[in-house]
Each structure stands twice: as C-alpha cells, then as structure tokens.
Symmetry: C2
Subunit: 697 residues, 2 copies
C-alpha cells in the first residue's frame, strides 16, 4: 500500500479526479436516487469519459446503455461507483478489485459507521482492495467531483440546486454536508470550485491524500479541508508545502474541537495544552490556516483567489461615513489588523484632488459626493495605492442609491487591484451594492468585521511559513513502563540535556543528612516513589529544611505507611528562580509529542498561560513561542526586575522535545513544575519531574 | 430644559415621532436632494399630516403648495425640517423657535462637527431654541422616521432603495450610516422597523432620550442603539427599565471602542479596567445587551421579535448531517450555550416515531429521509418540544433540493414555535432554504455560529436584570486636591469602612522604632510623601524589617534627598494574605465611578485578571463579580489551600464604592495594591493605597 501511495504522488491529479470511464453499479434512471445522481450530473455537466451504468433490471438508464453486471461491460472501467447496498456492495467492491478497477467510490453505507461488525467487514474489503491495487473513496462517501471535466462521481443534492462553475478552489472533506456547505457559500459569492470530495468513512483515500492529489494543480489557489479526525498528517503537510511553494494556500476546519476530552486528559500538561494544541502546532508549522467554522473556511477565498502581496498588512479604511471608519478600526483592533499610517505626500496629494478635504488620518472619511464621481474616486484610490505604507484596503459603502454610481465605483476598484496589485475589499450591507462589486471581481462583505477578518486571514496565511519536515531521531525502544518516580524521571531527562537540580537519592535518614551537608544550609527533602506522584498531598515535600535527617525520617515513615516497599527520599539543593515556569510533554496519537511551556507554580491550571510546540523544534522556535505567553513582558525585565534567562529555558524546552521524539512511540507525558528560571545568564533548573510511559511499550 | 424633558416622559411617542404638520425649509422638487427627500418619502409612505414646503423660489414642490417663507405658512407647523445651509440654517432655526415650532430636524451641517467656531454657533442656537421651548434633532442629522405613520423626516438614500415595513423594532443612532446599516440587514431578513433616528451632532435630543421616547410603545419589542459617545445615561437606563418591564429589550453598539485611550489612562486601575469597563458595567446593571458590530446588533432581532421564554437556555441541535451537529456543538461551547440533555422518555418517544433511530444524544443526527416527510418531522419536533430539559432549538439544513419538502418543514417549524412557545432557529447555507423558513417567520442563519450566537444573545438578554436606579449619597465637597500620600489615603478610606492595616505615621526614626515595637517583631517601614507615589522605585519600601529605626532613617534621608520638605514614614504591621488582590476606582466622566477588583501583586497589569462594577453596588454584586475572575477557583479553597474570605473582600469593595460615590464629583482614582486576603473568617487588609482627587474640586 505504501508503494502505491508513493506512486500516486507522482501523478497526483489524473487518476483520482479524471477517470476515462466510470461504471455505476446500482445505476438508476431516477436522477434523485443515489444510483442516478452521478449519471445525471456527468451528463449534465459535460463529462467526456464513458459512463457505464450497471443494473440487471434495465437495458437503458438515463438514455445510456445499461449492463447487467460488471462482467458484461465492454471494458474495464477506470472508476466505479458502488451505489448498491448491503451484501451487494461488498460483492461489488470485490468484483471491481478482481477485474482491475483503479478506484471505487463506495457510496453504500453499513460499514464502520455502524459498529464493530461493520468495521470488520470494512477492514476485510479494504485489505481485499489493497491486495488488488484498487483505491477506495468511502465507504459511506458522498463521492468526488471534478467540475472542470464534469467527472461528478457524487450524489449530493446540492449540484441539482446550485450550478457548479470551475474555479481555483478545492474542497476535501470527511463529511458530505461539510463539503457542500462551503461550496454553496462560495458559489453564492460567485466563486468557482474545481474539486470537491467527501470521503465518508475515510477508510483508504482520505482527505490528506486527496488534498495532496490536488496540491500540484497549477489552477488551484486554495484548498479547503474539513476533518473530524485527522489522519496521514505527513501527506497533508506535503500538500501544504507543494501548494505554498507555488503561492496556493490551505485552510482547515476541524469539527469536534469542543473539548470535553481535554478535561479528561490524564496528565496536567495534557489538560493544560487542551485537546487541540497539537493540531494548532501542526498547522502553524506547516503554514495551514485554521478556520473555526464554515464561514471562516470560505471568508477570505476571494482574496486567496487573487493572491496579491500583503507585505506588512497595513490597512487603509475609507468610507463616506465616519461610523463605518470607526467600526472598521474597532474590528481591526479586535482582530489584529494594523491600520496604515499614510505618508504626508499621500495626504498632500489627496488635498490636491479633494479641495477642502480635512481628514488627516486613517480611517479616511471621504465626502459622499465622491461616490457619485467615479473619476475622482479612481484618482483617490490611485494616490492611496501608491503609498508604500498602505498594503491593504477596505472601502465601506454603508448606503447607496440615487446619486451613487456604484457600477463605476466597482470598475474603479477592480482597476485599482489590477494596477496596484494590493488586496482590496468592500463592506456594504445592501445586497445590490455587493453584487455590483462582485460583478467586477471585487471581494465583498456585508459587515465591517467580516471584511477586516478576511484581510486578517489572508495576511496571516500569506505570512505563515511552511517548515521543512524535520528529520526524526531513531526511536528508543528499551524504556521503562508506566509512571517513573521523581529520581528516575530527573535522571532520564538529564541524559537528554534537561538541566535538573543537584540532588541525590537516599534510602535512609543518615545518608540524607550527609548528602544535605554538601548541598547547602537548607535543602529540599521529598519522598520518592512511583506509586505516589502527588507528593504534596501526602506531606512528602519539605522545602528549605535545615534538619534533613528529621525530614527524611518523616518521609520514609509516611511512604512505609502508604505501603511503599522500598521507601526512598530525594535530597535536593534549594533552587529559587526569579519566576517559576513549567515544561511538559503530551503526545498526540496522530501528530506526535508536543512540548508545553508556560507559567508554573501551583496555580498553573488556573492561569493557563501556556504555549505548545510540535516536537522537534529549534531554540528560535521556542523563543518565539515564549513571546506569546501572557507573562512574556517578564522576559526582558519588568518593573525593575532583572531580565530572565529565556535562552536557557528555550534550550531546556528543545532538549525536552528531543527526549520526547526519541521516546515518541512509548511516551505518555512529562510534567515538570516548577522550573526555576534565573536572571539572564544564570540558567534554569528543573526541580521536579514526572515522566510517564505507556504500560505496553 | 429639565422641566420640558420631564414633561416629555409623560407623552413619549407622539410629539417626536408623529407631528401633525411638517414644514420643510429649503424644500426641493428633486427627491434626491436633501430638501426633497423627506417630502418625497412622506408622500410615498402615506404620511397623513400636513406637509408644508418652504422655498421662496417655487410655488409648488413635488405637487404640493410651496410657501415663500415661514411667515407665509397657513399654520404653525408642529415640526420643521431645516434643509438650508450656512447662515440661512441659523436664521431658520431662530425663526422656527420664534413662531412656536415644537421640534426642528436640523439636517444642515457646518456646526460643532467643523470645530470651535461651529460649536459656538451651535451652542448659541441651542440656547435660543431651549429658551423658546423648541426641541432640536441635529444639527448635521439625517433625521427621524416613523414608518407606522409615514412621518419620514429623513434624507437617507436608503429608503429609496429598500422599502420600509412597519415592525416592532426601533433604531436610534448618532450616525446616519449606523442607523441605516442595521435597517437594511433587518429588512433583508424580512423584519420590520417602526422608528429610525440619526441625531448627528446630538446637540439636544440625543439617542438616550429618543430611546426613552419609544420605550413605552407597546408595539416595540427591540430598541437598537448606536452611540460613539454616550450621553444622558440615566435616560437610557430608564428606557431599558420601561422596555424590560414589558418584555422588550435594548441592544447597544458603541463605535470607537478600540482603546488607545485605555493605555493612556493615568491610574493603574484606569489602565487595567480599560476604557470600556464603565460602559460594560452600566449596560450590565441596566439589562442592556452589548453588540460588538452591526451584525451582532441585529443578529438576534427575529428572536426578540417573537419573545418566547428561554428558561435555562438548554439547546437541542438537530440535523440530518453529523457534521452540522458537531459544528453547532463546537459553536455552543465557544459561545457558552449549554446543550440540553434529553430525557429518557423523549428518546423513547423518538425511537417510537423513528424505528431504528440510534442516536442517543444531543446533537440529534436525524435521518435525511425525515426531511422529505413533514408529518413525521412535525412529530419529532413535538416530542422534543415537550421535553422539559429542552429550552431552545437549532435545526441545521446543510443542503436541500429534490427529495426535501422545505416549505413543509418550514410550516412545521413555525407551528412548533406557536404551540410550544420555545425559541427555534434554522441554519442553512442555501439562500433559497432560508427564504422558505423566513416566509413562515422562522429565524434563519447562514452559519452554525450565527445561529448559536443569536440564541446566546437572546438568552443572555432575557436573563439580564435591570437594577433599580440606586439612591446616591450626597456629594462630599470639602476634599483635598491632587494625589494624597499613603497615610492620608489610608485614613480617608478607613473612614468609609475600608479595612486598612494597623499603622502609624512618624516624623523621626525614634518614634518609628517605638511604634514598631507595638506592631510586632518585624514591621513594614515606608517613606510617605504625596510627591512620590511610586515608593518602590525610590527604595522607600522596607518589608519585614526588625530594625525599624534604621529603615526609617534610610527612608527619611532618601525623601530629603528627593526634595521632600517634611519627610515622614509609615510604620505598619506585617500583613500576609493567602493571596494578594487589588481594589481600585476609576471615574468615567459620564457614568461615574467604577470599582475594579482583581488579582493583585506586582504582575497585576500582566495578568489583567480584573472585574469592574459600577458604584454603588451590593455585597452580592461584588461576590458575583469575584466569581468571574480567572482566579475565582481560589475562593473556595484550591488544591488544599483554605478558602478565602471573599465576603470580607466584597465588603471592602462595597465600602470603596460608597467612598467613590460620596466623592464622585472630585475623585480621579484610587489604587489599592496589594490587598491581603486571608482565609475565610479572617478578613482582608489593605496595606497600600493612593487616592487622587482632581486639582480643581
């Protein structure tokens, strides 16, 4: 299977999206039945390949010759749609595989989505298909559609209602509904879609591989992805890399992000990071923009389609209403879009065109009369577009009617985009006004917030980077199982370069007292047993003690009373940082280990001031992440406090990431809190750690 | 003027919104000119009063007799529109006032919005009108419109384009654009608007008073307010109270909330609270829902129009797509809408109607076939509506076409709302699907997020309370000026019941040493001078000292070297809390003092974990506010720590609020940080305070 997949990467588009012939097993004369839709669509939307209906009950289907069975077909079809149900579906999949069909779109349901029995059946069929070299979309799939070729192997009702138009957008989705919802929103804005797929149970050809299959199509500028559970992340990363390399972008929406799961996470770090932190870190690394809902998925599509440079994203707002300027500025601050500071020469030039023009700033409050004078409006746009400080533009048209030449304004806006190659959007609550701009290819929004957010999405996606896939160290296989005690955790982490506190493990109080003398006047004494990870709750932590002997005796006695067989204590040097941080690892089953860095101490969950990084990563990555913490102002010294040793903390995080990568197949979590961060140049010290491995490595 | 305003409260609607006769000064035959629009609109939209055009150049305007001047009119008009410019506008205002016109809509610009000279002219005219008993809307106003009576004294282009329809909504706005943007969004959703006003310079009759003027109209269910600077808050509060008392709601959008201003605020508390905290506190107190943009302003209008009870707002999501359920659940978590837990009997009943129906939970994944069977769909709705746990409903229709009986579904949804009186919304990306539901009066949204957010807005507004206007204590007038030193600040606050640390003020080191002995083994010694509010930065804070004499000497010497004439020190008892809080006051020029409560310590700005309350308030108000802090989990005891004395902190906050109210005309700010909060029953102690009064009381 792996070999096939690699093959496909070299011929990505044709095989999946443009079959030469399509058999439809369970063909129906009724275009509103599952077995009839694809035949109807392919004929309606100009499919030039051969359509081969299969149905023993009919001689003709929708005007085409119908065959009694696969065996009766005049050729081996390149693709087959399985539109029959139950046992017949399984038989059809096997028959297709046997005869050498390349790809089967299995619309039939009744497989893994129904439970264990269905899953077993599905697994059987997948193995059968794989052995024969047949790829499968589905089962339980709405199917695929290529609106450039008319190869609409898809039974969604949507294309009966909303006519397709070829365009630079691809939609790949696990859900049928989530494939057509962005489609209709895009089409109603006049945007075209070339590829659309809904993979249902996602058993073989999943959304990641489908995204990869369209990434190299030069016509595609935007790939929209909907997943509920991400699989094959490396393929999605590769898709993003290929797309970005030629200026195309990927936007992803994950359904099911509401995280009851996070609360149930086993480790502190897991709960802190939240269920979705790994996905966020993955998307960030690969330059994939994340959307929170279907509207966000499509909101900036018109901007991605144009693909003008954004530079620093400094935005000019202009309107003939002061309120629209104010509302855009509010939205810009909320969303994080910087407003441009116009140059003096721009303002001078505006004053030349508009005698009596008084507004010295941005947002620009233009006079209403300007909107009836297209020539002057074009001049104003030209002046603004020539300002090197002005990167993106919003025109607000809160009202138009008699006295406003909206078509002329729209033409001016369109010409501006062509000549200046800078992104421009219009916000207008009237549908008729938006339609006039859309007719000229100008992106429009019904609200200030929508327009500003689209600019933010576009500029942010443009500025993201797609990191090279890091080389992963070999996996360490000889690892302990379950929870490690503090001493074992510290020593294991130290081997990977994590800076840990001076300490020793002692089995009796005399030894503890002797060691303590070498560590300072006051020391820390803690009970040490893997069975008791929450030491404080059992009175097993003594900080700043001068009587190490007494503290050790107390800990050993408590451990014994808690049923620990070979009680031990850790005696450690007292370490105080300027500020307490935490470091941890949680492992995503699909995306691998993420390192969490944040403010530490006992209130860590309440403060929730953490950032997450997909391992492995560099010191620079970690330093950049630290700047995103709420407590980042402490790094450079705050209110007279010295600056913190952020480099040392970043290096410790990198070391932790390397440890996590080396143990990625067996590690469950790492919790290190507190991590004492000193002033700049004085380093960082981890004073407590718990490492957990899976019980079956 | 005050007297007139009180009069108007007793006859709120008629005078402003339904004049018996309207003179139009500067009447134009051209309906697209400012002087022609209102005449056109009034004739077009059925105004039954008398329209009296005034223009010396014409004998007839738009088919009506035109008069050469006000003096030529056959009657004293109740209202006048001033559509002439410059000096003629001023003359017209004076002439109207002289002849006894009740209300003038001044559309002319060239007044306060142009600068100091225009403001002076405007002030003059306002005084003239006030003396004559004439009310003014404007100047620089787009005007008012009553679409029930056709009294459209308004020159917006919008009503040329988008036909009005009388309905239960009023829009009052300072901005013309911001009055018609919500109008068009509402109208395009099929919702009707009765009143609309844009007040421009807002010199006399402002949005608050206009809101009040419509609040008692039994037909009005929703008042939408747009302001950039709120004035007359008591009138707006009264409007909200009157509206809420009969089940109507007020939603407010403030433009210009982006807060460069907050960063520039003088006091720590002011910067912490943010510019808008006072407005938030005001709106919260008076049960006014806040919107962040024009879309949020209108988003829940259809729900407010229906006005069904929300109870606990527990929401049921149903769709024939799993993804729509997932996306609604994600949005619900993000927005804060609780999902209903359906009862076992509901699930049983559903299983009766839908054999093979397997989904046991909410969101409900209905079968697609159901959407072609309206009768069964109605049965399902009926079962769900009867569940006492199910308060609100979202139906997701991601796709419809052949096989879907959308009009029948829409009728079922409409009948459901009538019979069960529970809010229900539909989310559908297809415009045609939304239109079918809207035709039956079912609120629709194009996205899951929009639908869920509307339910949140509606439920939140329903559950808000409108507090009775608190009685304010008399203002203390005999107050110091400027910054008070620590000793003076503490002693002033103590008089109002704020619990402050045991301390004494000393002028020499011997005295300090003697006092220290009475306060404990270790004490705090601080330099005390109003000129030096930031003591730490000058080494003027000694905490936990046993040598009070030395510390006092050091402070006194430093103060002397800083140029302080009569140096003093505060010697205070050491106080340690379980956690450090802060209390502060900042004073909004319109809304008065707000008390800020939050986490204290040196990182207070970084953490920004604060809540604000409009003073005065009760202990219960303060306790509820404390629960909104991020560190609220500490209150009941966290991870083995004892519970905190939240009652004591709340009482201190109330005392601070009472102090602030008593000094509301002269107070600038209060900063108290840290405030040491002890375990429950052990109280709270303020250990530092700075009070600032205005320099001119």
């Amino acid at each position: 299977m792996l070999k096939r997949r690699n093959d496909i990467l070299h011929a990505p588009v044709a095989a999946f999206w443009s079959p030469a012939s399509v058999a439809v097993i369970g063909a129906s004369d009724n275009p509103n039945k599952v077995g009839g839709r694809a035949i109807h669509y392919m004929q309606r939307y100009g499919f030039q390949g051969r359509i081969l209906p299969v149905n023993p009950q009919r001689a003709e289907v929708q005007g085409l010759t119908c065959y009694a069975s696969l065996a009766h077909l005049p050729e081996v079809p390149e693709a087959a749609i399985i539109a029959v149900a139950g046992e017949a579906a399984s038989e059809a999949i096997r028959a297709c595989a046997d005869m050498g069909v390349s790809i089967a779109i299995v619309m039939a349901s009744g497989f893994a989505e129904t439970g264990a029995q269905g899953r077993a059946l599905q697994d059987d069929l997948m193995r059968y298909a794989e052995a024969a070299g047949m790829r499968i979309v589905g089962p339980n799939a709405q199917g695929m559609a290529n609106f450039a070729s008319g190869a609409v192997l898809n039974f969604s009702t949507m294309f009966m209602e909303v006519e397709p138009m070829d365009g630079p957008i691809a939609i790949v989705s696990q859900s049928g509904a989530a494939s057509v919802m962005p489609y209709v929103l895009l089409r109603e804005r006049g945007l075209g879609v070339r590829y659309l797929a809904a993979t249902g149970n996602d058993a073989d050809l999943g959304v990641s591989e489908l995204a990869l299959s369209v990434a190299a199509d030069e016509s595609i500028r935007l790939i929209l992805v909907y997943v509920e559970s991400l699989s094959q992340p490396a393929m999605l990363a590769q898709a993003a890399r290929i797309a970005r390399s030629r200026g195309a972008r990927v936007v992803l929406l994950k359904g099911g992000s509401s995280a009851l799961g996070a609360a149930a996470a086993a480790s502190h770090t897991g709960a802190l990071a939240g269920e979705d932190a790994a996905l966020d870190a993955f998307l960030e690394r690969h330059g994939i923009l994340r959307a929170r809902d279907i509207h966000e998925l499509v909101n900036a599509a018109a901007l991605f389609e144009r693909g003008f440079p954004v530079r620093e994203g400094r935005t000019v707002v202009m309107s003939h209403s002061g309120a629209v300027g104010v509302l855009c500025a509010d939205a810009a601050e909320r969303v994080g879009v910087p407003l441009a500071k116009l140059s003096a020469s721009t303002l001078d030039a505006l004053a030349q065109i508009l005698p009596g023009f008084a507004t010295a700033g941005n947002p620009l409050d233009l006079t209403a009369s300007l909107l009836g004078n297209g020539a002057m409006f074009a001049q104003v746009l030209d002046v603004l577009g020539s300002d090197a400080q002005a990167d993106m533009f919003v025109i607000g048209v809160p009202v138009a009617g008699p006295g406003y030449d909206v078509p002329d304004l729209a033409r001016s806006a369109a010409r501006f985009m062509q000549s200046h190659r800078k992104p421009l959007v219009v916000t207008a609550p009237q549908r008729s006004v938006r339609a006039a701009f859309e007719a000229c290819g100008v992106p429009t929004y019904s609200s200030e917030t929508g327009a500003i957010h689209a600019l933010w999405q576009y500029a942010h996606a443009e500025r993201m980077h797609c990191a090279a896939e890091p080389a992963l160290s070999p996996t360490v296989t000889d690892v302990p199982q379950g929870l490690l005690d503090e001493a074992a955790s510290l020593s294991l982490l130290q081997r990977y370069g994590v800076p840990i506190v001076d300490h020793a493990v002692c089995t009796d109080a005399d030894e503890a007292a002797a060691i303590a003398k070498t560590l300072g006047e006051r020391v820390v004494v803690k009970g040490c047993a893997a069975e008791i990870p929450h030491k404080s709750e059992h009175g097993l932590v003594h900080i700043g003690v001068s009587d190490a002997y007494g503290a050790a005796q107390d800990c050993l006695a408590r451990l014994t009373s808690l049923g620990v067989k070979n009680p031990r204590v850790v005696v450690a040097r007292m370490a105080r940082g300027l500020h307490e941080f935490m470091l941890g690892v949680t492992v995503d089953p699909v995306l691998g280990p993420i390192v969490v860095i944040g403010e530490g101490g006992t209130l860590v969950e309440i403060r929730g001031d953490v950032v997450s990084l997909l391992a492995p990563f560099t010191v620079d990555d970690a330093l950049a992440a630290l700047r995103r913490l709420r407590i980042a102002p402490l790094i450079d010294g705050y209110r007279g406090q010295p600056a913190l040793d952020a480099d040392a903390l970043a290096q410790a995080a990198v070391a932790l990431g390397d440890f996590a990568i080396a143990h990625r197949t067996s590690l469950v979590s790492v919790d290190m809190n507190p991590v004492m961060l000193m002033e700049r140049g004085k380093g960082v010290v981890v004073v407590d750690a718990v490492v957990e491995f899976g019980s079956q490595p």
